[in-house]
Subunit: 559 residues, 2 copies
């Protein structure tokens, strides 16, 4: 396969990150803040930001973390060009000190360290997924880009994982949302992260090229409706597969014969069959005798499309080829798939064509998570589901709402104490542990201060679950996993970058470990995220103003 | 301004289209169909596709058409590279004839002609917005890319236009959705088309750079919470504006004085004021004394943020500077804005500072179309509204659902006759006229066959409104406007490309002309789209199988 090897592909992806995420693709206030930090001499102060989301998406009990590879490539290439700086000079207030632009011109991420949950992990609300540490002005400047790279990636990956859970492991899932996504790159991200989240195939060729995702697709209705008569089907002959003599057979006559027999078998009226549709199927089958999978509802499935398909497919079989199946794109997919399968079985038995009964049936009409769920409840014969709009636009909740919050400056914890408690942040640089029970299932994510000793397997500990006011619980983990790793240290990516297939496998294994009660698509049980005693004390102390470390009240009004 | 002139900007946009919309960014079935057309010798047959949407978005009565400029740049640059073709060879069925790849390698849009509604026009469901004519295989291959460039652009532009209608002409609208969009380019498209749809400003710097959109932004909560004490505020002095001697003034002491007076004036407890917040405001004001607009709800608006703001702003005023205003980012924005304005007025009167009462109040907390609508009903003092998630993800309806349908091949009308009537298409190459009434308001879009004589002003005509079964109406237009223009002929862009500011003006003027009954955000009256008598006859004839021109039934089962 062209561009097949991982390293050349990674080069393409890195170039694409540079093109898609130029350092000006950020919010203006990052620059005005950076200037104010610089002006006050604080731009080099060591600071720590955390990236997290506040609620699991789609009313579910989990999310999947994605976007890390692009973040790493972004950090590695982060640099302002002269042109960038010239533009900034033109939009920042005229009073901005010109030396600031020289400072910007020299910036890179050589002072930045990133600790992150591995890409493809199952994650939960309020757990800091990424910790970005470095000079205050630099880590502030990175905010919007990192959020932009993680937010949608994680959202659509989580959405895809839910579709996979709904579909079960057996049914194939095809992503086909490019035309309905947020523009070209929205579509590319959708294909990439849908695959990582558990889809099998994409219709998006560029996603195949850049990320090695298997691509699929055969024909649209326009192909069918472009044909009017059998005269347009050409060549009209086909050489039998493994035929001894290689003599072409009149494929149209052969098919017409099969069509008569199929009509007789199922009791259909030949007068309702569309000639243009038959011509379209014939021409496609002659072009791709081993890849024949037409869309059969351009006119009428029962009166025309299915009969034309069976005739052409049986003719292919007679010549030694293996047709693939059909696609349904409108109406009641379940009911139609049952009818189609019945006719396939009938043909298989009556004409003694083994395999004909198990041809593939693809369904693709405005499929939602709910329609996929219903496939498990209603009788149907659909093997592959194609999903577009509902997958890529995440109709149920089109934004994950990740945020990026300051938690430490110069070693001192920082906190936003909003009047809206939802918007308060948890202060301090943290370590995050995933606690696993005796059955090997994660049951609690514990946030500690980084200076605390880690929890130990088999040893009881007290902690304060979030969202339970100040109630504490005592628990004993069977196993303790440190959830985040240092993946970028002082400008260097420190771990091999994964390819999408590796991350995709990780998603499935991470989901496999998760207790089913948290995986339920509707009304799941909440997974517990808790603060250590020390962190809880810091949090409440700062909130109540009991610490001199943070957010002093102004004691001295000396005038 | 750097990159300020239109032509250098257009070059950047064209490069960006080439990077973002490579010709492989399309659905796989375009290539398999193109091959089947090629194999059957039909690839050069002249064909016509139409692009349209089936329902106006957001339950509204109109949409805005956008994305045309990118489509034109895409068509102009459309060409497969050797690398593209190598990759296609690797993913297409092995039986594909190698000569097909040479054919692909030589393709471009020199045989393609595009007729389109002008970008920025108000448009309606089922009106063909674009007509793409050219060799069958080529115009088929363009499908996904054109849909991808029009679908989201038109959706978010329409969404922005609705926000503008909800906000009224006076209030400023700031787009700030980059971090919540579908990845980097989703965010860039959002900024671009929100501006075109009627927003005034964006937070997205790259959108300013590429499209000349005014950018805005000052500070986030992290800037405020990064400060602990007044010691961090530096420089501590500020030179008065137009001061005779240029001697710096102790700005901290000056501000503390104002803080005491403000507390006394409004009866606030000085002991609840956050020192870090004051330090943050001071440092920002010293950096940008003419651009002071802090976010004031990092702790408590009433007990700290507003008091700190007033103190720093009054100190700035004393030194001859003009502070800009404040931003509210949580809680009840309307109520708070009223409280804030009251304090501004009090300060203005009590301290005799003219202009202080009319400082800008920006509101930015999860703003939806509904929240903007409510601003007109509830008492509030918000001057500028910042919108993110609901604007860029179009939460109310995250996809427009444009489709691209074949209507003619070799001069013969084509039609998809689905069992799902919603999915049937209207056959034939068309002309589209917008009929205007005596008050200058468009009242009906008329679809005719291109060969028909155009309707004439002042002359009655009979037509068949869509969605009214076969009922006809008789109407007399006062004015007739041909809705589409040829914008790309045989590989050449034939009209000057507009810049976003020009298209933005066109959106407003197009909306201005529209009857208010169609503009209502809730339950608008439907705008009428109708077929000419001739087109209606063709449509029903084909549907009933009464014409030999299209979709023949297979009459001859001669075996």
């Amino acid at each position: 396969m062209a561009a097949a090897n991982s390293s050349s592909r990674l080069g393409l992806v890195e170039r694409s990150v540079r093109d898609r995420v130029p350092p000006l693709l950020t919010d203006m206030y990052q620059f005005t803040m950076a200037y104010a930090y610089w002006r006050t001499g604080r731009h080099q102060e060591p600071a720590v930001f955390e990236l997290f989301f506040r609620d699991c998406p789609f009313g579910g009990g989990f999310s999947v973390f994605a976007g890390l590879t692009d973040c790493l490539l972004f950090l590695r290439g982060f640099r302002y060009t002269d042109q960038d700086v010239d533009f900034l000079r033109s939009v920042m207030p005229p009073s901005t000190d010109p030396s600031f632009f020289q400072f910007l011109r020299g910036l890179d991420c050589s002072g930045v360290t990133l600790r992150s949950v591995p890409e493809g992990s199952v994650v939960f609300a309020r757990v800091p997924l990424m910790e970005v540490a470095g000079p205050l002005a630099v880590v502030q400047l990175l905010e919007t880009s990192l959020l932009c790279l993680v937010n949608y990636a994680s959202l659509v990956c989580s959405n895809a994982a839910r579709f996979r859970l709904a579909a079960g492991p057996r049914r194939k899932l095809l992503e086909m949302g490019l035309r309905r996504a947020q523009g070209p790159d929205g579509g590319l991200s959708a294909s990439r992260y849908s695959y990582i989240g558990g889809f099998d195939l994409t219709s998006n060729v560029q996603a195949g090229f850049l990320f090695g995702i298997p691509v699929a697709g055969t024909m649209a209705h326009s192909y069918v409706t472009s044909f009017t008569s059998l005269e347009e089907a050409w060549p009209q002959t086909l050489v039998p597969l493994n035929g001894d003599d290689g003599v072409p057979v009149d494929f149209i006559s052969l098919t017409k014969g099969w069509l008569s027999r199929v009509c007789a078998l199922v009791g259909a009226e030949p007068g309702k069959i569309r000639e243009g549709e038959l011509a379209a199927f014939l021409s496609y089958a002659v072009a791709y005798p081993q890849n024949f999978l037409p869309v059969i509802d351009s006119y009428s499935v029962a009166c025309s499309g299915l009969l034309n398909f069976c005739a052409v497919a049986l003719a292919l079989c007679e010549l030694g080829y293996k047709p693939v199946g059909i696609r349904l794109d409108s109406g009641d997919l379940c009911r139609q798939s049952v009818d189609v399968r019945r006719v396939f079985r009938l043909c298989s038995e009556h004409f003694s064509v083994p395999g004909f009964e198990s041809l593939v049936i693809v369904g693709t009409n405005n499929i939602s998570e709910q329609s996929v769920t219903e496939l498990n409840k209603k009788e149907n014969e659909i093997n592959t589901v194609g999903v577009g709009t509902h997958l890529v636009t995440c109709t149920k909740q089109p934004s994950l709402g990740c945020v990026y919050k300051l938690v430490e400056v110069r070693g001192r914890p920082r906190m936003k104490i909003s009047e809206d408690p939802e918007k308060s942040t948890i202060p301090g640089r943290k370590a995050v542990y995933r606690l696993v029970d005796s059955e090997g299932r994660p049951f609690l994510d514990l946030l500690c201060l980084v200076a605390e000793p880690p929890p130990e397997a088999g040893r009881p500990l007290t902690c304060f679950p979030l969202g339970c006011d100040d109630a504490s619980v005592s628990i004993t983990p069977t196993q303790v996993v440190c959830l985040r790793q240092e993946v970028f240290i002082k400008g260097q990516v420190t771990q091999p970058l994964e390819n999408p297939a590796e991350t995709r496998a990780k998603v499935q294994s991470s989901l496999q470990d998760l207790n089913p009660q948290h995986k339920r698509l509707q009304e799941p049980e909440s997974y517990t995220v808790a603060l250590s005693e020390t962190l809880h004390k810091l949090f409440t102390d700062i909130q109540r103003g009991n610490t001199g470390n943070n957010n002093n009240f102004l004691l001295l009004l000396d005038q």
